[in-house]
Symmetry: C2
Subunit: 337 residues, 2 copies
DNA sequence: ATGAAAGCGCTAACAA
DNA sequence: TTGTTAGCGCTTTCAT
């Protein structure tokens, strides 16, 4: 069979006729204008009910130049998107906030199409604004999106401009605190497994590591990029072990990478934390699902998502919005360090 | 600051003027009509390039009564959506297929808003069709969606109708094969942890379990609902142990539930597979991330997603589409049974 | 191969 | 408070 034919949906014209009023009055009722008489209000409402009327979105947005839709742009592939609990948390936060509004969310897992479809979608006026969740130096299409609609970034933008809005976690302080904790526990040969240097979160956490070490007058340890994935973390761990001169502690810039590192350590017969102490970053569900459970820096990803949505909603309402929000991290001590 | 003002995007009218042709000709070029002279084609193309023109989606869809958008409806909460690798696989498949088309995907994690926003979005003509990924007896809003646009279901619909299109896995045969494997290995007291009975996948796998047992002349074992979550699986496992009369094998209808069951078994000091053999369902990444690794029924979720998207695209193209596709499962033997 | 003209269903001044 | 009147930017007959 082919497409089933459903009766054409009622139009505003039909509702107006049924209610014995003009299109404008129906429009007013639909859009919640106050200047409608109780009688008209009733008539229109019942006509809407009776005809099962739903305003046509295209027509509405063509006339009003608003779509009441927001693009959620994730410049990652689906594997990373679904594989990293960080996205689950932040998207849940965004979704929770948007659900309470009358906006809808259009998700773009955008690395798959190199961003082109996403860009023209946004530029075609299909959304009123965009939230960009994770982005890399190479994601230049983001700039064309930002030129078309208001954007709120998750994390400090790659090339920050004066008017960028974003919600970030204090990655610098987080990296510093994590490293400091290891120092305080008496460790002296401290390595780090970093996120990609093309991402601000990767850069900032590494910078925090450097600062803590410098402040304590300690030498820099091995620095390996784990790409924010479990496999990358495992590979980085292997490189560190292969280099000899084993560290006695490692600051791993995400829990997922820490999981990878942990498995390599276990395979190498090294005990955590006795031989090598590990501290992660995120406090995502993986932190408690590995053995030993991870000491880690908690970051409030759900709240970050909510705040991002909040910020964009403010912007779209034409209200002044705080341009930057920085959320704090918090040390969570468990068994790995 | 408030919304930044970007120059109003170029309209078809402006492109037409710049190219020295009529709106119609520009429209023809944009929509790939053949009846355009090479000269006009060139002029229009360069004007489009020059003016950075992107057609307005609302206007286009209002005039053409097509949106080139597809709703992906997931009647689950975000926790389950991100927590179950099954969704990762099926959504990846859908996304992969849609990416290759000129449609875009609008994701609705719909249990959060009770489906009302989703329903009116769909009924407002915002999408041409919908893919419904996981649905329960209680999700009645799906029917209103199906009344408005063509729908392809993932899994047999709750209330199947003559004209429903869907892509399912052969859950009946899968449940049967899993149970049969346990029987073949010499197990005689076989319990099962099921998915929700409100979901066809839950019902069908249980039915397969019953059939295999009956065919072998074996009595039915404990049957507990694990709700397709890890926690639910753990709770179900606890109930089975608490009931006494320990089974020697369990067919667990999803890998995630098996993970929960495994942790309870470990805590109870029971060895897998020596004391209790476990077979899962899915062959998702969790199957190899637990100890012992899971013997399980592999289901081709990515392919299922691709096929669903394919089917809907066929329908939207007005072509005849196969109404039902059933994909086979496959036994994967590892360490847990 | 091309253009003119008529809408698609709605919102938003403006008048009344 | 209500209705009238113009569009919003595009597609799509229908002529030519």
């Amino acid at each position: 069979m082919t497409i089933e034919s459903t009766p054409a949906p009622a139009t505003i014209e039909e509702v107006a006729a049924a209610a014995g009023v003009s299109r404008s009055t129906v429009s007013r009722v639909v859009n919640g204008s106050t200047s409608v008489s109780p009688a008209a209000l009733d008539a229109v409402r019942s006509a809407i009910e009776r005809l099962n009327y739903v305003p046509n979105r295209a027509a509405r947005s063509l006339a009003s130049r608003q779509t009441h839709a927001i693009a959620l742009v994730v410049p990652e592939d689906t594997t990373r998107f679904f594989g990293d609990p960080f996205f689950a948390a932040i998207v849940s936060g965004i979704n929770a906030r948007i659900s309470r509004s009358d906006y809808v969310l259009n998700l773009f897992i955008a690395s798959d199409d190199a961003g082109d479809k996403t860009t023209s979608y946004v530029r075609s006026g299909a959304v009123d604004g965009a939230i960009v969740v994770s982005h890399h130096t190479s994601d230049t299409f983001i700039e064309r999106i930002a030129a078309a609609v208001p954007v709120v970034y998750g994390g400090r933008p790659v090339r920050e401009r004066e008017r960028d809005h974003y919600v970030d976690v204090d990655n610098l302080a987080g990296g510093r605190a994590a490293t400091q904790y290891l120092i305080d526990r008496g460790h002296r040969r401290i390595a780090t497994i970093t996120g990609p240097r093309t991402m601000p979160a990767g850069v900032d956490r590494l910078e925090g590591y450097h600062e803590a070490l410098a402040a304590a007058g300690l030498p820099e340890g091995a620095v390996e990029d784990g790409g924010f994935t479990a496999d990358g973390g495992a590979a980085a761990m292997r490189r560190i072990l292969a280099a000899g001169d084993r560290p006695d502690a490692i600051f791993v810039a995400s829990d997922l990478m820490a999981r990878g590192a942990l498995s390599v350590l276990a395979a190498a017969g090294l005990r955590v934390p006795e031989d090598v102490a590990i501290i992660g970053f995120d406090d995502s569900p993986v932190a408690t699902s590995v053995f030993p459970s991870l000491t880690t820096m908690r970051q409030p990803s759900f709240a970050q998502g909510e705040r991002m949505a909040d910020m964009l909603l403010e912007l779209l309402a034409g209200r002044d919005a705080e341009r930057i929000t920085i959320l704090e991290t918090e040390l969570v001590v468990r068994d790995s360090a």
